[in-house]
């Protein structure tokens, strides 16, 4: 996890909020550093993590996690982490008997275009068992990422329904959190992706949006992060609702600074 980002979001692993949906989106840049941040954050906060990783392999997340101070292998062995490796399972599904339910069942079936099997997998993974009751604080679901489900042929409404059910189970019933990454196609006029992004934005309590700089690539400033807090009207000043920072990704951390205040420029 990145301590500077924790400061900006005003959280620590000890007092993380519960029952929240956090939406990560990236436009013209790679927002996966946010996924690594939240993965290591929740592992350090003693949450039970269900990670639906559709983009990269387990070893990739493990290597980055080790730089950030968590070991995914150890977390998986002690039962804190349930990892669905999308790249491997997607191949496995074709070599199994068809009767067994599989979380990525939609890849095989042409007519059922919903994510109910994936939802059942998440619900099973985060179901409280007796011996774990005391061990882990709350469940959290991490998805990297949802846009690839659209590329695999699902409709935006199917993905929204999946997140809806996950919200009902993880956020409301179990008082846990959900963190999901969606890519913003920007000018590419992808209507399904826009419906997915806007639909999730309306349901989110916190939106972190990583954007490339409008002026192009830069060695010292890798992008801009917009933070938007949503939710019912808060008694705090409306100014606190939205913040914008620029960031630079280094080997083991990410440094954030106000716009135009990069150390390279000052």
């Amino acid at each position: 996890m990145f301590p500077e980002l924790n400061n900006l979001l005003n959280t620590t692993p000890d007092r993380a909020e519960q029952g929240k949906l956090t939406l990560l989106c990236d436009a013209k840049t790679d927002g996966s550093f946010l996924v690594h941040h939240f993965l290591s954050f929740y592992l350090k906060a003693d949450y039970k993590v269900c990670f639906v990783a559709l983009i990269q392999s387990f070893s990739h997340y493990n290597i980055v996690g080790q730089k950030l101070g968590v070991s995914l292998t150890a977390a998986r062995e002690r039962g804190q982490l349930v990892f669905l490796e999308g790249l491997k399972s997607a191949v496995d599904i074709f070599f199994r008997p068809q009767e067994e339910p599989h979380p990525l069942q939609f890849l095989r079936e042409a007519n059922t275009r919903n994510l109910q099997p994936l939802y059942e997998f998440v619900r099973e993974a985060l179901k409280p068992t007796d011996e774990e009751e005391a061990a882990w604080r709350c469940p959290v679901l991490l998805v990297d990422d949802l846009s690839v489900l659209l590329s695999l042929g699902l409709g935006a409404v199917a993905v929204l329904d999946f997140i809806h059910y996950c919200r009902a189970t993880v956020c409301w019933e179990r008082k846990g959190n959900i963190v999901a990454l969606v890519h913003d196609s920007g000018d590419a006029e992808d209507e399904e992706n826009d419906i997915l992004l806007n639909g999730l934005s309306h349901q989110s309590h916190l939106i972190l949006r990583a954007e490339g700089l409008a002026t192009g690539f830069c060695k010292d400033v890798h992008g801009q992060l917009k933070i938007l807090w949503r939710g019912p009207s808060q008694p705090t000043a409306p100014r606190d609702r939205s913040l914008t920072y620029q960031y630079k990704i280094q080997d083991k951390s990410v440094s954030f600074f106000a716009k135009g205040m990069s150390p390279a420029v000052l």
């Binding site: 809806h164 409301w172 938007l228 949503r230």
Partner: protein, 331 residues
């Protein structure tokens, strides 16, 4: 004070925003965006309806019942009936707890209620319903829901919509107000305009500089549509705090006290001619204008005309021939 009394007083005083929205009856459409959410305003309208003594039915698709009831006191919560489409809208859990028939049946069931008295139906949200139901079905159901007509047999709409399923008409004298929350960015212009045509009042939420504002369009029967823009904020107990005064304009207006700049001041050349200069200009002959005086002046060497000399130094190779080569020309 009931809404109808408020309308009667409206000629003398400006109605408070919520009252004027609720006074119209029919459907009120709330259009919100990601940045300016509309659920708080929806809850403020629900609170106002409940304070009028009405019963409020909420078809909740997007938030849980606890989250929706949060912020309401027990008086209002007792008048609120929450139809839960959040927990299991598509019957995936198959426990039998879901509302039977899914979202469409739940919506039609609201039309068929038989409780007496004025009723407010809140749809949270219309966007969710629009993503899961065909637009035409939803519009027909909404139309049936917000209709206030006491005489079903003579209503011409039964003739106009022959494909409509049988939807029972509310009993005579029943007043139903429908509040619908719509997330603008999720839908194309067609469905949004279809829903907007069903609404008697349309509230579009926006804001600037951290201050929310509502642009309201009223469609009163047999009158021109009227617009109103109002800045507001919603307090934690879901009462409305109106901020009066003109809206802050984002573009600066030109200062009316500075005089317009005259571009003909401080020039380095003269744009105007005096009378003498004009006469001199008119009497000037142009150099290539060939008049008779000019012809004579060219043919006769003038008194002050200087003669010119040509000094010629012949080279060694020059052919000096005194003969004039033009002598044989016959002019």
């Amino acid at each position: 004070m009931t809404p109808s009394e408020g309308v009667g007083r409206g000629m003398e005083s400006v109605l408070e925003m919520l009252e004027s929205l609720l006074a119209l009856g029919g459907m009120v459409l709330l259009r919100d965006t990601v940045e300016w959410e509309g659920r708080s305003l929806l809850k403020a309208l629900i609170k106002k309806s409940a304070l009028y003594g009405e019963q409020v039915h909420v078809l909740g698709c997007e938030v849980s019942e606890e989250e929706f009831r949060e912020g309401f006191d027990s008086n209002i919560n007792s008048r609120l009936v929450y139809h839960d489409l959040f927990r299991d809208p598509l019957n995936w859990s198959k426990t039998g707890e879901a509302l039977p028939g899914g979202p469409l049946e739940a919506l039609r069931a609201l039309c068929r209620r038989t409780d007496p008295g004025p009723v407010t139906v809140a749809l949270d949200s219309l966007s969710w319903l629009l993503l899961h139901l065909p637009c035409t079905t939803l519009c027909q159901a909404l139309h049936a829901l917000s209709r206030q007509d006491p005489c079903p047999g003579l209503h011409p709409e039964y003739v106009m919509l022959p494909s409509m399923h049988y939807i029972s008409c509310p009993s005579p004298g029943k007043q139903v107000r429908v509040l619908g929350l719509l997330h603008e960015e999720l839908h194309g212009p067609g469905p949004v305009r279809a829903l907007s045509s069903l609404a008697q009042a349309e509230v579009t939420l926006s804001g600037a500089l951290g201050q929310a504002s509502a642009h309201i369009l009223y469609r009163r029967p047999r009158q021109h549509p009227t617009h109103q823009t109002q800045r507001f904020s919603i307090l934690p107990d879901f009462s409305l705090d109106l901020q009066g005064g003109p809206l802050l304009e984002p573009q600066p207006q030109p200062d009316p006290h500075t005089p317009p700049v005259d571009p003909t001041n401080h020039l380095t050349f003269n744009l105007r001619l005096s009378k003498k200069e004009r006469e001199a200009k008119d009497s000037l002959t142009l150099p290539f204008q060939f008049s008779s005086e000019k012809q004579q002046a060219l043919l006769r060497p003038g008194p002050g005309q200087a003669t010119s000399h040509i000094f010629y130094e012949p080279d060694a190779y020059d052919d000096l021939d005194q003969e004039d080569p033009d002598d044989d020309l016959d002019i």
